[in-house]
Protein backbone atom coordinates (compact mmCIF):
# COMPACT_ATOMS: atom_id res chain seq x y z
CA UNK A 1 0.00 0.00 0.00
CA UNK A 2 1.28 3.48 -0.89
CA UNK A 3 2.02 6.25 1.53
CA UNK A 4 -0.79 8.46 2.71
CA UNK A 5 -0.64 12.24 2.99
CA UNK A 6 -2.87 13.67 5.72
CA UNK A 7 -3.42 17.41 6.15
CA UNK A 8 -2.57 18.26 9.74
CA UNK A 9 -2.17 21.09 12.19
CA UNK A 10 1.05 19.81 13.77
CA UNK A 11 3.76 17.28 12.83
CA UNK A 12 2.45 14.41 14.97
CA UNK A 13 0.24 11.33 14.54
CA UNK A 14 -2.09 12.66 17.21
CA UNK A 15 -2.39 16.05 15.59
CA UNK A 16 -5.88 17.06 14.60
CA UNK A 17 -6.67 16.90 10.91
CA UNK A 18 -6.63 20.29 9.20
CA UNK A 19 -9.82 20.36 7.17
CA UNK A 20 -8.52 22.68 4.47
CA UNK A 21 -6.27 21.01 1.92
CA UNK A 22 -4.57 23.92 0.12
CA UNK A 23 -4.13 26.12 3.18
CA UNK A 24 -3.13 23.36 5.60
CA UNK A 25 -0.08 24.06 7.76
CA UNK A 26 1.48 20.80 6.64
CA UNK A 27 1.03 17.17 5.73
CA UNK A 28 2.01 14.03 7.53
CA UNK A 29 3.24 11.42 5.04
CA UNK A 30 2.37 8.16 6.74
CA UNK A 31 3.21 4.55 5.97
CA UNK A 32 -0.13 2.92 6.86
CA UNK A 33 1.49 -0.42 7.77
CA UNK A 34 4.18 0.78 10.17
CA UNK A 35 2.76 4.23 11.02
CA UNK A 36 6.21 5.67 10.36
CA UNK A 37 5.85 9.21 9.10
CA UNK A 38 7.60 12.24 7.76
CA UNK A 39 6.29 15.80 7.72
CA UNK A 40 6.14 18.26 4.87
CA UNK A 41 5.64 21.90 5.63
CA UNK A 42 2.97 23.61 3.53
CA UNK A 43 3.56 27.09 4.91
CA UNK A 44 4.58 28.48 1.52
CA UNK A 45 1.12 27.63 0.17
CA UNK A 46 -0.55 29.41 3.07
CA UNK A 47 1.19 32.62 2.09
CA UNK A 48 0.11 32.53 -1.56
CA UNK A 49 -2.55 34.90 -2.88
CA UNK A 50 -3.77 32.27 -5.30
CA UNK A 51 -2.86 28.72 -6.28
CA UNK A 52 -2.40 27.36 -2.75
CA UNK A 53 -4.19 24.12 -3.62
CA UNK A 54 -2.06 23.58 -6.71
CA UNK A 55 1.11 24.26 -4.72
CA UNK A 56 -0.02 21.84 -2.02
CA UNK A 57 -0.73 19.20 -4.68
CA UNK A 58 2.81 19.65 -6.01
CA UNK A 59 4.16 19.21 -2.48
CA UNK A 60 2.19 15.98 -2.07
CA UNK A 61 3.37 14.72 -5.45
CA UNK A 62 7.03 15.28 -4.51
CA UNK A 63 6.51 13.41 -1.25
CA UNK A 64 5.60 10.29 -3.20
CA UNK A 65 2.27 9.81 -1.43
CA UNK A 66 -0.41 8.06 -3.48
CA UNK A 67 -3.40 8.90 -1.30
CA UNK A 68 -4.56 12.13 0.36
CA UNK A 69 -6.86 12.27 3.38
CA UNK A 70 -8.27 15.72 4.12
CA UNK A 71 -11.42 17.77 4.66
CA UNK A 72 -12.06 19.91 1.64
CA UNK A 73 -10.42 19.94 -1.77
CA UNK A 74 -11.07 22.65 -4.35
CA UNK A 75 -11.41 22.03 -8.09
CA UNK A 76 -7.88 22.98 -9.14
CA UNK A 77 -6.15 20.97 -6.44
CA UNK A 78 -8.45 18.07 -7.30
CA UNK A 79 -7.51 18.29 -10.98
CA UNK A 80 -3.85 18.52 -10.10
CA UNK A 81 -3.87 15.53 -7.71
CA UNK A 82 -5.97 13.47 -10.11
CA UNK A 83 -3.61 14.18 -13.00
CA UNK A 84 -0.78 12.75 -10.92
CA UNK A 85 -2.85 9.65 -10.11
CA UNK A 86 -3.18 10.56 -6.44
CA UNK A 87 -6.41 9.35 -4.84
CA UNK A 88 -8.36 11.69 -2.60
CA UNK A 89 -10.36 10.86 0.52
CA UNK A 90 -12.23 14.00 1.58
CA UNK A 91 -14.80 15.12 4.18
CA UNK A 92 -12.47 13.84 6.89
CA UNK A 93 -12.72 16.16 9.87
CA UNK A 94 -12.77 16.31 13.66
CA UNK A 95 -10.31 13.48 14.23
CA UNK A 96 -6.60 12.92 14.56
CA UNK A 97 -4.24 11.81 11.81
CA UNK A 98 -3.97 8.40 13.51
CA UNK A 99 -7.75 8.00 13.57
CA UNK A 100 -7.98 8.96 9.90
CA UNK A 101 -5.40 6.34 8.96
CA UNK A 102 -7.30 3.70 10.97
CA UNK A 103 -10.55 4.71 9.31
CA UNK A 104 -8.89 4.40 5.93
CA UNK A 105 -7.41 0.97 6.75
CA UNK A 106 -10.84 -0.19 7.89
CA UNK A 107 -12.13 0.63 4.40
CA UNK A 108 -14.37 3.42 5.67
CA UNK A 109 -13.02 6.14 3.37
CA UNK A 110 -14.46 6.40 -0.12
CA UNK A 111 -12.18 7.85 -2.74
CA UNK A 112 -13.66 11.04 -4.19
CA UNK A 113 -14.63 11.45 -7.80
CA UNK A 114 -15.12 15.21 -7.67
CA UNK A 115 -14.05 18.16 -5.53
CA UNK A 116 -16.23 19.12 -2.56
CA UNK A 117 -15.49 22.82 -2.51
CA UNK A 118 -16.03 25.69 -4.93
CA UNK A 119 -12.88 27.37 -6.16
CA UNK A 120 -11.87 30.87 -5.16
CA UNK A 121 -12.20 33.71 -7.60
CA UNK A 122 -13.25 31.62 -10.55
Amino acid sequence: MGKIAVSCEEPALDSRIESRFGRAAGFLIVDPETLEFSYIDNGSSQAMSQGAGIQAAENIFRSGAKIVLTGYVGPKAFQSLSAAGIQIGQNIENMTVRQAIEKFKAGEVDMAESPNRMGHGA
Partner: protein
Protein backbone atom coordinates in the same frame (compact mmCIF):
# COMPACT_ATOMS: atom_id res chain seq x y z
CA UNK B 1 -7.92 66.20 -19.09
CA UNK B 2 -9.02 62.98 -17.44
CA UNK B 3 -11.20 63.14 -14.35
CA UNK B 4 -11.55 59.97 -12.30
CA UNK B 5 -14.69 59.76 -10.19
CA UNK B 6 -13.74 57.29 -7.47
CA UNK B 7 -14.67 56.32 -3.92
CA UNK B 8 -13.57 54.00 -1.18
CA UNK B 9 -17.06 52.85 -0.27
CA UNK B 10 -19.42 51.62 -2.95
CA UNK B 11 -22.81 53.20 -3.52
CA UNK B 12 -21.76 56.71 -2.56
CA UNK B 13 -22.69 58.28 -5.89
CA UNK B 14 -19.85 57.86 -8.39
CA UNK B 15 -22.19 57.15 -11.28
CA UNK B 16 -24.64 59.82 -10.16
CA UNK B 17 -21.82 62.38 -10.20
CA UNK B 18 -20.27 61.05 -13.43
CA UNK B 19 -23.55 61.20 -15.36
CA UNK B 20 -24.37 64.69 -14.16
CA UNK B 21 -20.86 65.97 -14.87
CA UNK B 22 -20.98 64.58 -18.39
CA UNK B 23 -24.34 66.28 -18.94
CA UNK B 24 -23.10 69.74 -17.96
CA UNK B 25 -19.57 69.50 -19.41
CA UNK B 26 -19.03 72.42 -21.74
CA UNK B 27 -16.24 71.00 -23.91
CA UNK B 28 -15.96 67.71 -25.88
CA UNK B 29 -16.09 64.83 -23.43
CA UNK B 30 -15.96 61.04 -23.40
CA UNK B 31 -17.88 59.29 -20.64
CA UNK B 32 -15.93 56.14 -19.75
CA UNK B 33 -17.31 53.46 -17.45
CA UNK B 34 -14.33 51.59 -16.01
CA UNK B 35 -16.37 49.81 -13.34
CA UNK B 36 -16.22 46.79 -15.63
CA UNK B 37 -17.48 44.37 -12.99
CA UNK B 38 -20.80 46.14 -12.79
CA UNK B 39 -21.00 48.96 -15.32
CA UNK B 40 -24.10 51.15 -14.96
CA UNK B 41 -23.26 54.59 -16.36
CA UNK B 42 -25.01 53.66 -19.61
CA UNK B 43 -28.30 53.32 -17.74
CA UNK B 44 -28.28 57.07 -17.08
CA UNK B 45 -26.80 58.58 -20.23
CA UNK B 46 -28.42 56.12 -22.68
CA UNK B 47 -25.75 55.76 -25.33
CA UNK B 48 -26.43 54.38 -28.78
CA UNK B 49 -23.75 51.72 -29.17
CA UNK B 50 -21.96 51.98 -32.51
CA UNK B 51 -19.05 49.62 -31.98
CA UNK B 52 -17.87 46.75 -29.86
CA UNK B 53 -15.09 44.23 -29.66
CA UNK B 54 -14.05 41.36 -27.46
CA UNK B 55 -10.99 41.73 -25.26
CA UNK B 56 -8.77 38.70 -24.81
CA UNK B 57 -5.71 37.90 -22.79
CA UNK B 58 -2.84 35.73 -23.99
CA UNK B 59 -2.48 32.52 -22.03
CA UNK B 60 -0.25 29.46 -22.54
CA UNK B 61 -1.47 26.31 -24.25
CA UNK B 62 0.70 23.29 -23.50
CA UNK B 63 1.80 20.59 -25.94
CA UNK B 64 2.88 17.72 -23.71
CA UNK B 65 4.60 15.88 -26.57
CA UNK B 66 7.15 18.68 -26.88
CA UNK B 67 7.66 19.25 -23.15
CA UNK B 68 10.96 18.02 -21.71
CA UNK B 69 9.78 18.59 -18.10
CA UNK B 70 12.47 21.17 -17.40
CA UNK B 71 9.95 22.92 -15.11
CA UNK B 72 11.17 26.44 -15.88
CA UNK B 73 7.69 27.69 -16.83
CA UNK B 74 6.07 26.36 -13.66
CA UNK B 75 8.88 27.79 -11.55
CA UNK B 76 8.56 31.18 -13.22
CA UNK B 77 4.80 31.50 -12.87
CA UNK B 78 3.94 33.35 -9.66
CA UNK B 79 0.24 32.55 -10.02
CA UNK B 80 0.32 28.78 -10.37
CA UNK B 81 -1.19 28.96 -13.85
CA UNK B 82 1.23 26.21 -14.90
CA UNK B 83 2.05 23.21 -12.79
CA UNK B 84 4.33 20.30 -13.57
CA UNK B 85 3.34 17.03 -11.91
CA UNK B 86 6.03 14.59 -12.94
CA UNK B 87 5.67 14.27 -16.69
CA UNK B 88 2.30 15.93 -16.80
CA UNK B 89 2.09 19.62 -17.53
CA UNK B 90 -1.11 21.25 -16.29
CA UNK B 91 -2.35 24.71 -17.16
CA UNK B 92 -4.97 26.69 -15.28
CA UNK B 93 -6.03 29.35 -17.78
CA UNK B 94 -8.21 31.26 -15.31
CA UNK B 95 -5.21 31.77 -12.99
CA UNK B 96 -3.04 33.36 -15.70
CA UNK B 97 -2.24 37.08 -15.46
CA UNK B 98 -1.04 37.19 -19.06
CA UNK B 99 2.57 38.19 -18.45
CA UNK B 100 3.85 35.93 -21.24
CA UNK B 101 6.88 34.83 -19.20
CA UNK B 102 6.24 31.12 -19.67
CA UNK B 103 5.95 31.51 -23.45
CA UNK B 104 9.26 33.37 -23.48
CA UNK B 105 11.17 30.95 -21.27
CA UNK B 106 10.14 27.69 -22.97
CA UNK B 107 12.88 26.64 -25.40
CA UNK B 108 11.11 23.48 -26.54
CA UNK B 109 8.11 25.01 -28.27
CA UNK B 110 5.87 23.20 -25.83
CA UNK B 111 3.89 26.34 -25.02
CA UNK B 112 1.98 28.32 -27.61
CA UNK B 113 -0.26 31.35 -27.17
CA UNK B 114 -3.96 30.84 -26.62
CA UNK B 115 -6.58 33.27 -25.45
CA UNK B 116 -8.91 33.77 -22.53
CA UNK B 117 -11.86 36.06 -23.09
CA UNK B 118 -11.87 38.94 -20.61
CA UNK B 119 -15.05 40.67 -21.64
CA UNK B 120 -16.35 43.17 -24.13
CA UNK B 121 -15.61 46.77 -24.95
CA UNK B 122 -18.52 48.90 -26.19
CA UNK B 123 -18.58 52.46 -27.48
CA UNK B 124 -20.94 54.92 -29.05
CA UNK B 125 -22.49 58.33 -28.59
CA UNK B 126 -24.86 60.06 -26.20
CA UNK B 127 -26.62 63.44 -26.19
CA UNK B 128 -23.59 64.73 -24.32
CA UNK B 129 -20.64 63.32 -26.24
CA UNK B 130 -18.90 60.03 -26.78
CA UNK B 131 -19.25 56.95 -24.61
CA UNK B 132 -17.00 54.00 -23.80
CA UNK B 133 -17.36 51.09 -21.41
CA UNK B 134 -16.03 47.66 -20.57
CA UNK B 135 -18.11 44.73 -19.38
CA UNK B 136 -16.31 41.85 -17.67
CA UNK B 137 -17.19 38.32 -18.77
CA UNK B 138 -19.25 36.56 -16.13
CA UNK B 139 -16.84 34.20 -14.38
CA UNK B 140 -13.74 36.27 -15.12
CA UNK B 141 -11.93 37.05 -11.86
CA UNK B 142 -9.55 39.81 -12.96
CA UNK B 143 -10.75 43.20 -14.11
CA UNK B 144 -7.50 45.20 -14.62
CA UNK B 145 -6.59 43.38 -17.89
CA UNK B 146 -9.95 44.34 -19.41
CA UNK B 147 -9.60 47.87 -18.04
CA UNK B 148 -6.27 48.18 -19.84
CA UNK B 149 -7.94 47.04 -23.06
CA UNK B 150 -10.68 49.66 -22.60
CA UNK B 151 -7.98 52.30 -22.16
CA UNK B 152 -6.37 51.23 -25.43
CA UNK B 153 -9.72 51.90 -27.13
CA UNK B 154 -9.87 55.25 -25.34
CA UNK B 155 -6.50 56.21 -26.81
CA UNK B 156 -7.90 55.49 -30.29
CA UNK B 157 -10.92 57.71 -29.57
CA UNK B 158 -8.89 60.61 -28.15
CA UNK B 159 -6.40 60.84 -31.00
CA UNK B 160 -7.61 64.42 -31.47
CA UNK B 161 -6.34 66.54 -28.60
CA UNK B 162 -8.66 68.52 -26.37
CA UNK B 163 -11.24 65.87 -25.57
CA UNK B 164 -11.81 65.45 -21.85
CA UNK B 165 -12.59 62.12 -20.23
CA UNK B 166 -14.79 61.48 -17.22
CA UNK B 167 -14.04 58.09 -15.72
CA UNK B 168 -16.65 56.28 -13.65
CA UNK B 169 -14.29 54.18 -11.50
CA UNK B 170 -14.97 51.01 -9.53
CA UNK B 171 -15.19 51.42 -5.75
CA UNK B 172 -12.55 50.36 -3.28
CA UNK B 173 -8.80 50.77 -3.10
CA UNK B 174 -7.56 47.54 -4.64
CA UNK B 175 -6.12 46.89 -8.12
CA UNK B 176 -9.25 47.73 -10.16
CA UNK B 177 -9.77 51.07 -8.38
CA UNK B 178 -6.10 52.03 -8.70
CA UNK B 179 -6.11 51.03 -12.37
CA UNK B 180 -9.06 53.33 -12.99
CA UNK B 181 -7.50 56.41 -11.41
CA UNK B 182 -3.80 55.97 -12.16
CA UNK B 183 -3.84 57.70 -15.57
CA UNK B 184 -6.17 60.52 -14.56
CA UNK B 185 -5.29 64.18 -14.07
CA UNK B 186 -7.73 64.75 -11.21
CA UNK B 187 -9.22 62.29 -8.74
CA UNK B 188 -12.60 63.02 -7.18
CA UNK B 189 -13.50 61.05 -4.08
CA UNK B 190 -17.25 60.75 -3.73
CA UNK B 191 -18.31 59.92 -0.21
CA UNK B 192 -21.15 60.11 2.23
CA UNK B 193 -21.06 61.38 5.82
CA UNK B 194 -21.59 58.00 7.51
CA UNK B 195 -19.13 55.95 9.60
CA UNK B 196 -18.59 53.50 6.72
CA UNK B 197 -18.28 56.38 4.29
CA UNK B 198 -15.65 58.08 6.41
CA UNK B 199 -13.66 54.92 7.04
CA UNK B 200 -13.48 54.02 3.35
CA UNK B 201 -12.85 57.64 2.36
CA UNK B 202 -9.73 57.64 4.54
CA UNK B 203 -8.52 54.40 2.93
CA UNK B 204 -9.05 55.77 -0.58
CA UNK B 205 -7.42 59.09 0.28
CA UNK B 206 -4.37 57.32 1.69
CA UNK B 207 -4.10 54.85 -1.19
CA UNK B 208 -4.50 57.39 -3.98
CA UNK B 209 -2.26 59.98 -2.29
CA UNK B 210 0.69 57.83 -3.38
CA UNK B 211 -0.14 58.71 -6.99
CA UNK B 212 0.60 62.41 -6.33
CA UNK B 213 -2.37 63.68 -8.28
CA UNK B 214 -4.71 66.54 -7.48
CA UNK B 215 -7.48 65.06 -5.37
CA UNK B 216 -10.69 66.54 -3.98
CA UNK B 217 -13.83 65.40 -2.21
CA UNK B 218 -17.51 65.44 -3.05
CA UNK B 219 -19.84 64.81 -0.15
CA UNK B 220 -23.03 63.13 -1.26
CA UNK B 221 -26.12 62.81 0.95
CA UNK B 222 -24.86 65.85 2.80
CA UNK B 223 -26.91 66.48 5.90
CA UNK B 224 -27.05 62.81 6.75
CA UNK B 225 -24.96 61.71 9.71
CA UNK B 226 -22.40 63.89 11.42
CA UNK B 227 -19.83 66.52 10.47
CA UNK B 228 -16.93 64.06 10.86
CA UNK B 229 -16.54 63.72 7.10
CA UNK B 230 -16.21 67.45 6.57
CA UNK B 231 -13.86 67.67 9.58
CA UNK B 232 -11.66 64.97 8.10
CA UNK B 233 -11.51 66.66 4.69
CA UNK B 234 -10.61 70.01 6.23
CA UNK B 235 -7.99 68.60 8.60
CA UNK B 236 -6.35 66.51 5.88
CA UNK B 237 -6.30 69.25 3.28
CA UNK B 238 -8.83 67.61 1.00
CA UNK B 239 -10.89 70.34 -0.66
CA UNK B 240 -14.64 69.71 -0.69
CA UNK B 241 -15.71 70.66 -4.21
CA UNK B 242 -19.40 69.99 -3.80
CA UNK B 243 -21.99 68.86 -1.32
CA UNK B 244 -24.95 67.06 -2.81
CA UNK B 245 -27.91 67.25 -0.43
CA UNK B 246 -29.67 64.26 1.05
CA UNK B 247 -32.86 64.79 -0.90
CA UNK B 248 -35.67 62.40 -1.77
CA UNK B 249 -35.97 63.87 -5.28
CA UNK B 250 -32.43 62.66 -6.04
CA UNK B 251 -33.26 59.11 -5.00
CA UNK B 252 -36.42 59.20 -7.11
CA UNK B 253 -34.58 60.53 -10.17
CA UNK B 254 -31.81 57.95 -9.75
CA UNK B 255 -34.30 55.11 -9.42
CA UNK B 256 -35.98 56.26 -12.65
CA UNK B 257 -32.63 56.32 -14.48
CA UNK B 258 -32.53 60.12 -14.72
CA UNK B 259 -29.60 62.47 -14.41
CA UNK B 260 -29.57 64.46 -11.17
CA UNK B 261 -28.48 67.65 -12.93
CA UNK B 262 -31.79 67.50 -14.81
CA UNK B 263 -33.91 67.45 -11.63
CA UNK B 264 -33.94 71.20 -11.19
CA UNK B 265 -31.89 74.29 -11.89
CA UNK B 266 -30.23 74.29 -8.47
CA UNK B 267 -28.83 70.82 -9.03
CA UNK B 268 -27.73 71.77 -12.55
CA UNK B 269 -25.94 74.78 -11.14
CA UNK B 270 -24.28 72.61 -8.46
CA UNK B 271 -22.74 70.39 -11.14
CA UNK B 272 -21.78 73.30 -13.40
CA UNK B 273 -19.91 74.90 -10.50
CA UNK B 274 -18.33 71.52 -9.76
CA UNK B 275 -17.18 71.19 -13.39
CA UNK B 276 -15.58 74.63 -13.25
CA UNK B 277 -13.80 73.80 -10.00
CA UNK B 278 -12.46 70.55 -11.46
CA UNK B 279 -11.09 72.39 -14.47
CA UNK B 280 -9.51 74.97 -12.17
CA UNK B 281 -7.80 72.27 -10.08
CA UNK B 282 -6.48 70.52 -13.18
CA UNK B 283 -5.34 73.82 -14.66
CA UNK B 284 -3.54 74.80 -11.45
CA UNK B 285 -1.77 71.45 -11.31
CA UNK B 286 -0.73 71.77 -14.93
CA UNK B 287 0.71 75.25 -14.51
CA UNK B 288 2.58 74.06 -11.42
CA UNK B 289 4.13 71.32 -13.49
CA UNK B 290 5.17 73.81 -16.16
CA UNK B 291 6.60 76.09 -13.48
CA UNK B 292 8.57 73.25 -11.91
CA UNK B 293 9.77 72.13 -15.32
Amino acid sequence: MKVAVASGKGGTGKTTVSASLVSVWQSPVIAMDLDVEEPNLHLFINPSITGERTANMEIPVADESRCNQCGKCAELCQFKAISLMGKIILTYPEMCHGCGGCLAICQEGALSPGYRELGEILWGGTDYGEFLMGRLRVGEAMSPPLMRAVKIRLAEMTSSAGTDVIIDAPPGVSCPAVNAVMDSDVILLVSEPTPFGLYDMKLAHQAFSLLNKPMAAIINRAGLGTSEMADYCISSGLEILAEIPYDRRIAEAYAAGHIIADVDSDFRKLFMVLADKIKAIAGAAESREVWNG
